[in-house]
């Protein structure tokens, strides 16, 4: 399940206007354009999850960068400017939450999707307030991952970051 969406009233990091129905009925070609060739940063301290996510994202045709903690994620995102960051919220050295806040403060305008195995609302609200576009609930199936990446990278493909 997807635990939350960044409220529409907040300033979104990607300024696009996309009708919901349009995103649902996105064409296969748009999907392909959105994900293929995109760069996705996967940040998770759990090596098992990192490897699996990297494999799934690569299989979709995207290039993958890997980070094992929030500090690495922030450094890599500012250096390589991936179109999308998959950010675990709980990581050593620097938490995902801190990394997201740091990235937004430094002007990173790409999509950030946080994921967490926690259920609590405050953690999810905190992630959205820090600048995540959405929070995804672990475990994340390959199908859900594909849907969400397609949705967000597809938006970017159709309406470049302003």
């Amino acid at each position: 399940m997807e635990s939350g969406e960044r409220p529409g009233s907040r300033v979104p990091p990607i300024r696009t206007v996309v009708a919901p129905a349009d995103s649902i009925h996105m064409s296969r070609e748009t999907e392909r354009r959105g994900v293929c060739g995109a760069t996705v940063l996967v940040a998770d301290d759990n090596a098992d999850l990192r490897e699996l996510l990297a494999h799934q994202v690569q299989k979709m045709g995207a290039q993958v960068l890997l980070a094992a903690n929030g500090q690495e994620a922030m450094d890599m995102a500012m250096r390589h400017h991936p179109g999308l960051v998959l950010m675990d919220l709980e990581m050593p050295v620097m938490s995902g939450l801190e990394a997201v806040a740091g990235l937004r403060a430094q002007g990173y305008g790409g999509v950030i999707l946080a994921f967490t195995a926690h259920e609590e609302g405050p953690r999810i609200q905190g992630a959205l307030a820090s600048g995540c576009n959405a929070v995804l609930k672990k475990p994340l199936s390959a199908t859900k991952l594909r849907t969400r990446l397609t949705e967000y990278l597809g938006r970017s493909a159709r309406s470049p970051v302003a």
Binding site: N46, A47, D48, L49, E51, L52, L53, H55, Q56, K59, E90, A117, K138, P139, L140, S141, A142
Partner: protein
């Protein structure tokens, strides 16, 4: 990914997509080592470590479609939060037992759900 679960005698068989078979196998090998670390953490009274490792197992077990392992991770996380030593010890025994029963079989995506998979491989082999 999803793994189809089958009960075969005392074995817990997971049918895993061929292209992630090596990752699933490595995941199980890591969990075997994790049990040792969890036992050390329990003996040291390091409940934060047990909680964190249980949390990780909950997430990664679920991601690999191994629901029983994921549930054990969830229960370990909760028991560590309560500092319930007997329950943690019982859960670790259950985890060790579950890992010893697991068998992976590689299937192609179109085969998933079928039982006549190829190349059965016991964990750790």
């Amino acid at each position: 990914m999803s793994a189809t679960q089958l009960e075969a005698g005392n074995r817990q068989v997971y049918l895993v997509d061929r292209d992630v078979f090596h990752l699933a196998k490595r995941f199980l090998q890591r969990q075997e080592r994790a049990v040792q670390r969890l036992q050390v953490a329990l003996r040291a009274g390091d409940f934060a470590k047990v909680c964190s490792m249980g949390h990780d197992l909950k997430g990664s077990g679920g991601a690999y479609g191994m629901d029983k392992l994921s549930a054990l991770g969830r229960d370990l996380e909760a028991a560590a939060g309560e500092k319930d030593v007997p329950l943690i010890a019982a859960l670790l025994e259950g985890l060790e037992n579950e890992l010893s029963r697991v068998e992976l079989r590689a299937v192609t995506e179109s085969q998933e759900g079928e039982t006549q998979s190829s190349a059965p491989l016991r964990r750790g082999t």
